[in-house]
Symmetry: C2
């Protein structure tokens, strides 16, 4: 089985890009990744591409061939859509293809353009990630869904809003120096607690923003890297995917995310490691409570204990396990289809030492991404390791 | 490398289903396929699912986990979207996964719900398969795009509307006995020529209809089939995918579909056969001119000669190479995301001998599907063979 290396990574600035089309955004990310990889375009065998709401936001489905064009490629190109886990799943499929020998060089990434629509339209579009018939249509938007999960968590474990606020504070702090992040303003706990309420107990600073952006990776087989003398520094050594019912009402529990537990278990086993081996992680903090559930699903914390991690400084940049050093979805931004691949972009740089926050993890050798769709109906986890 | 067998197939009736949700439609197709396969649900390892316009038509993206629920499964489930080639590409990815040993038993299929929206909304939704910025938004809908292609073809080769009319007549004739087809009325050439014009020279009977429906297959490794004593009769022995620019204006020619040529070349090589070995085919006749371009891209006819095939009785049910014995997209119907997998459902039955039109191909051993996205920016071809 071929080992899978990350040869290059690229990302646009995450934020508002009112004057740029989706193809421009993805073209930029893809070009950066190709330049970073020093891989000729002719060697790229396929594009695996994540996008969620292109039909709504730009009247543009069928973005696979469009984005291949934008990247200067005429290769088989397929769009993967699993809501906010779209490009994480595209990465997983790329890993599978390289491992099996189906391909040696793949471009994988994602893009979302969201801010060009009124907030009401974006809210409606985001709601299509949930169960339209039984939940979204009767008013359960995602802030509402995660509010239910947060309330259930508070009830079960006695956590409170101030605990979650520390997560937002941490992720904003991490984004301050990240020139690609959408919100680079430091905030404090009072800012979070006093911000307008979106869906009690989810306040404005508990929620990730609406964002435009794109991300891309060039993944290659180890054989190709060696034959072409690429100085690859990071490998994808573990991948896992899990599933749950789409509708929240079908779940046994609102305070566990078994899809992420399954994905993590598979990814750890695949990489031959466990949660204690992870030095740094990017997790899907679409809401602050989501980061808590992620930490617990990934085995970093026992159920009911993850809420204190940021508050107690364990997941801050100086903590034992820095989480979301990029700023996370919360502060870096969350262009839905780009988010999963962007997590790998950030971690690749962190592990290579060329990320603005690399100084926080100078000895890091093993990293993890956690990317989730909707209320974690889809989940995908990857383990990255420094190539020895 | 594992051989890939089709263990079971299922389809809903294609047509208008105003009272049925998408999950009901896919649930029916999936259940039929699982019963046909005689494979327990617990053995299904993942769902690969094609859908195109769920965001528009039902406010429902992220249909992977939803449709897994509908099929009674909690397994990793991913939506593939390549416009009208969505489930054809899902089938291809399933083939790759079984061959590589990643999985032994997969559910693959697709669904589209279209008729619940006003025609204007469906037209707008379909246009999202093209290049929104430079073509769709300025009015180039798909009937218009294929009209340009037909005009260019007429100019180049001297064909005329009456030649294409024979394709519609043939496909309607094939659908008459197919109880799953949307339009089971026989028509004649005059009906086609006298029908209202949609986009000159594309008339109403040159265009496939708006359709609701779902399709599903259970694909398994040969090892699994043998170990579980499944009496699989059909194998997928060839798969190919090709690509072209999404925008029509970027093409060198309007009368060739190189993406389909690439997909066919790859699929033939993969199966170790050539076009002369194919006994029966289902091709993507979203418009009558599309069937002509398909026949030529697949190597059944030289460029500029395929237009006469139906007229001359070569692709009718009694001809040398029956094409679209199901009725094709034209008469069976075209629920976009279900179409690619449905082609394999029909051919599996034709090869097994349990299709209403099997008597037209009693000695058939080798079959081919051609599934295309937009104006063939995406194309996927499969070769099916009777298991010896």
């Amino acid at each position: 089985m071929e080992d899978v290396h990350i040869a290059g990574v690229g990302m646009t600035e995450f934020g508002r890009h009112p004057d740029r089309t989706g193809r421009e955004l993805f073209g930029e990310a893809a070009h950066k990744a190709l330049v970073d990889a020093n891989v000729p375009r002719d060697d790229i065998e396929a594009l695996l591409y994540g996008n969620f709401m292109g039909g709504f936001a730009e009247g543009q489905n069928h973005q696979g061939p469009l984005m291949a064009d934008a990247a200067g490629l005429t290769v088989p190109a397929t769009r993967y859509e699993s809501a906010c886990a779209s490009s994480g799943i595209a990465v997983r499929e790329a890993v599978k293809k390289v491992r099996s020998g189906e391909a040696d060089v793949l471009l994988v990434g994602g893009m979302e353009r969201m801010t060009n629509n009124p907030t009401s339209v974006v809210t409606e579009a985001l709601a299509t990630a949930g169960d339209d018939l039984y939940e979204s249509r009767v008013g359960l938007t995602f802030p509402g869904a995660y509010a239910l999960m947060a309330d259930a968590y508070f009830d079960a474990y006695g956590a409170e809003r101030a605990d979650l606020a520390h997560i937002a504070v941490k992720n904003h702090a991490n984004a301050v120096e990240n020139e690609l992040a959408q919100y680079r303003n430091a905030i404090d706990v009072d800012d979070v607690l006093e911000a307008p309420m979106v869906a009690d107990p989810v306040g404005l600073y508990d929620a990730s923003p609406i964002t435009d952006g794109a991300s891309a990776l060039v993944v290659v087989s180890e054989s190709y890297a060696e034959a072409n003398d690429l100085q690859t520094e990071v490998a994808i050594t573990g991948t896992g995917q899990g599933a749950d019912s789409l509708s929240l009402q079908s779940r046994e529990s609102l305070i566990r995310t078994p899809a992420a537990e399954q994905a993590a278990e598979e990814a750890y086993e695949d990489a031959g490691i466990g949660p204690d081996d992870i030095d740094v992680a990017e997790v899907h903090d679409c809401f602050t409570i989501a980061e808590v559930l992620a930490l617990e699903s990934l085995g970093f914390y026992e159920p009911g204990t993850g809420y204190a991690a940021a508050r107690d400084g364990e997941t801050t940049r100086d903590g034992e396990l820095p989480v979301n050093l990029s700023g996370g979805l919360k502060a870096k931004g969350h262009p839905v289809g780009a988010t999963g691949a962007a997590q790998l972009v950030e971690l690749t740089k962190l592990l290579r030492g060329d990320h603005v926050n690399s100084d926080a993890v100078t000895d890091a050798e093993t990293a993890l991404t956690h990317n989730a769709g909707a209320t974690v109906a889809s989940a995908v986890v990857h383990v990255l390791e420094v190539v020895q």
